[in-house]
Subunit: 359 residues, 3 copies
């Protein structure tokens, strides 16, 4: 069945292994990506998101924007997707996020690129894997930062006998500080229309420790998560190749964790409708895998209510959104008494949203 | 598994129950929505629609339009979707439509909003439900009407002991009158290219009572109808949550009735290719539920051929399109001798299309 | 269940049969189609394509383009789709392609139309079918050619007793000659950024006979291929109607062959990342059918490395890309010793890409 005797060469990308990374190493990731109204429509079709400022241009303009910005998480996925061929093609697991700050808003027509710098390396005791910490920066066509974040990921060694340096673990903040948030909105002197936004509850109405069951559930199909993940040009094989995955321990394609983040954020509209945008990603854990056929639910807790320096029009809420699979959230499922995530919990996401304040 | 002792509050939308509605009540629905070329592309991908005036800008321009208008039914779904959280989140069934008149065409970049007024209330004898009649009006960013229609829906009572007023049932027209139609096209003195449009048959060629089997069938997948329904920001839970639906009497997610309307209209191209746009919705019944895996077919009957006041370039056809599931339409399946819809019939849709006349 | 006594007419398109075609016959195909950023986003979501020049506007501009061109294969599918109702609605099989030359690039906002001319007819010995050769030409709104190609297809006779003329078989080139290629890029004096493009390998680095396993696999879902095929307004029934297909010999919907071409080209990024665009289609065979659930892999062989007249900035590679189903390509599966395609081989596609040369 083979085609015979002509030459075989290797021009394919096989990704980096743990021993290929070095502290301070910089990577320019491939494939600049122009985002358009088409991506916005697809993002709506994939998640049913309803936040007014990223749905209606007239609403965005009522908040002083010239044009309608894109959802921060669409930007996150595109910036993240570019890093996969270089950082996580040989990853075992995506372990965490920190220090994620969104920069200038992204508009239809903007072209995004990503570069990464290796800021930490920790060989695992098993000798077969290690943890790579990268600081990735997404920029628009003008070179202006749209997202700056850290993630760490467990990566296989290509050669288990490769000698690797001692661990360097970066110092990461617990949450992005208020003074480091970019606030693209200025509502001073403007009327914020809560009826059009979908909720009367503003920043002032939330209390630290308050919990909200977002009630609704969304079942995921194979086509949905693959369309999304391809849209983000994320090439991680586990999401796409059933022929290989059927021999894996789960026997299924794994759903990209970011797909769950976007679903959870879309579900959070029901209870957090005035969360204008995700301004920071403080941390996040993909606690359990999700598969096609799972129904995702979500609940949120207000971790902090933060005043923004010099601003009385807009405040920040630090939110933990927990997503579950096939498990309604009326009882706020989270961790067991042993401190481990309950089996149905799939995402523990710590992020900061901006929200209008009462005049 | 619960997260412990912090406060629980209710900021989620639980929708209105029958006793929450009052005659004359006005509702401003949330989430303005900017429609774009991205929505047009998705609409094509979801239904395969081929009507030339909403597919090719050059064709629309040949009919005197500056730009290519969007499909009327895309407008319908978006205007309708906004009403769901306030009107039909607790609905048992969507019972009917009437008096639907499309206004100015919608173009890429337009932002749509919807308001509704309660115009009828009818408590059911079971004491548990009632019928709510609403007149919903969709407008663009200039406040100009793009769609004005009535629908009625059976809604649960939240408290079965709630006292409700006597029935008020609105007077609704059997069909939208010709003088109330908006005609966005002026073909006077223009050549209408039937080859590019896909059919030589114009308004003059159709006869009242004529029936057309649209022949083709389209199988629906879960992803397809959920992508569509999320695109319209329609939040009705029965379309999305298999985890809950599996305990329902059907055990399945129900497909949004509007998805069937759009499929039937797309199928009707084969026989009604010169139907430029849906100008009015005279009535409609979702006779039976549809589920993923069903193959939808359609046939149409010409109910009326209507001259438009002062116009010799364009006429109107009042059409009944009947859609079926897993049932070819060569025999025009409709109602049994008992007057009830045949089991395979899923849609009985009465609407008015505009069509060029012979010079 | 039938609706009774009103008139039945036939205004539906039933397609042409073999005896309906005549040498020299010209067909104007219906439904002009405006392509937009929405189609580009969907194309990315469907295939995950990452070629920089059709992904990032800034990258296209760095190659001297005013705007970002669309993927040639999206153009191919749209131009092709229009021919289906007139050419291949009664087709048994799509047999081959030749002499496909892409013309001016297509940009968002362009409107495409297609016309075809019958250039060959060959009755089959079974008396029931024949082969129709058509030269189809796609043009933009300015009437400028975007694609000119030949395909041949086996079509049923409507009346097996119909008398048909003797065979006329057109003379077709083995490959499109270099002087007939349109080269939309001028890289003279420009820096080509291989990091952003995703590969350091340029035209000079490939050798005739070289083979590349593209490694990655992509599993196809029913929604994916139907969304794609509807996007292209391709109406061939076998792709959409499970209710009919379940009685067919495969019992399944067949996936549009062009969907496999696009998947294979997207997979070829891993090894051929600097293949700027498909400039010519020299030939192609859909060797075996594909169905939802299949995982598609691909490998390529460099058939020729061609200098372009008067150009030192860009060269052409003639490539054979072979796609398989549920069969990894490390061994380059192709044909058996009997010269027949191996069972897992689904596509044998011979085409020409443009690629930057070393300065």
């Amino acid at each position: 069945m083979s085609a015979g005797k002509s030459a075989r060469t290797t021009k394919t990308v096989s990704g980096n292994y743990f021993e290929d990374f070095a502290i301070g190493q910089e990577l320019v990731h491939a494939t600049p990506r122009t985002l358009s109204d088409g991506d916005v429509a697809l993002y709506t079709a994939l998640y049913g998101t309803r936040f007014a400022v990223t749905s209606g241009a007239s609403f965005a303009q009522s908040l002083g924007m010239d044009r309608m910005p894109m959802d921060s998480l669409l930007v996150f996925h595109v910036v993240f997707g570019k890093t996969v061929p270089d950082i996580s093609l040989n990853a075992v697991a995506n372990l965490g996020y920190a220090a994620g700050r969104f920069g200038v808003p992204v508009y239809a027509g903007d072209t995004l690129q990503t570069t990464s710098k290796v800021i930490g390396l920790k060989p695992n005791k098993d000798g077969k894997t290690g943890v790579v910490y990268v600081n990735s920066i997404g920029t628009n066509q003008g070179g202006v930062v749209v997202l700056d974040y850290v993630r760490w990921v467990m990566v296989r060694k290509g050669d288990v006998d490769a000698v690797v340096a001692d661990a360097v673990i970066p110092d990461l903040p617990g949450a992005v500080a208020a003074e480091n948030l970019t606030i693209p909105y200025d509502l001073t002197g403007r009327d914020y229309d809560t009826a059009l936004a979908g909720s009367p509850y503003l920043w002032d109405d939330y209390e630290v420790g308050e919990r909200i069951d977002h009630v609704d559930g969304m079942t995921i199909e194979e086509s949905d998560h693959m369309l999304a993940t391809r849209l983000y040009q994320n090439t991680a094989k586990v999401h796409f190749n059933q022929h290989v995955q059927q021999g894996d321990r789960f026997g299924r394609r794994l759903i990209y964790g970011g797909h769950i983040i976007s679903l959870a954020r879309a579900l959070s509209f029901n209870g957090l409708a005035n969360g204008l945008c995700v301004a920071a990603i403080n941390g996040g854990t993909h606690c359990n895998p999700t598969f096609a056929g799972n129904t995702v639910y979500a609940w949120s807790e207000v971790l902090d209510r933060v005043e923004l320096p010099g601003r009385s029009d807009v405040g920040a809420l630090r939110i933990r959104t927990v997503a579950t699979k096939d498990l309604a959230c009326a009882d706020f499922p989270y961790k067991g008494e042993d401190g481990r995530y309950a089996p149905g919990v799939v995402l523990d996401f710590d992020y900061t949203v901006l929200m209008p304040r009462r005049a």
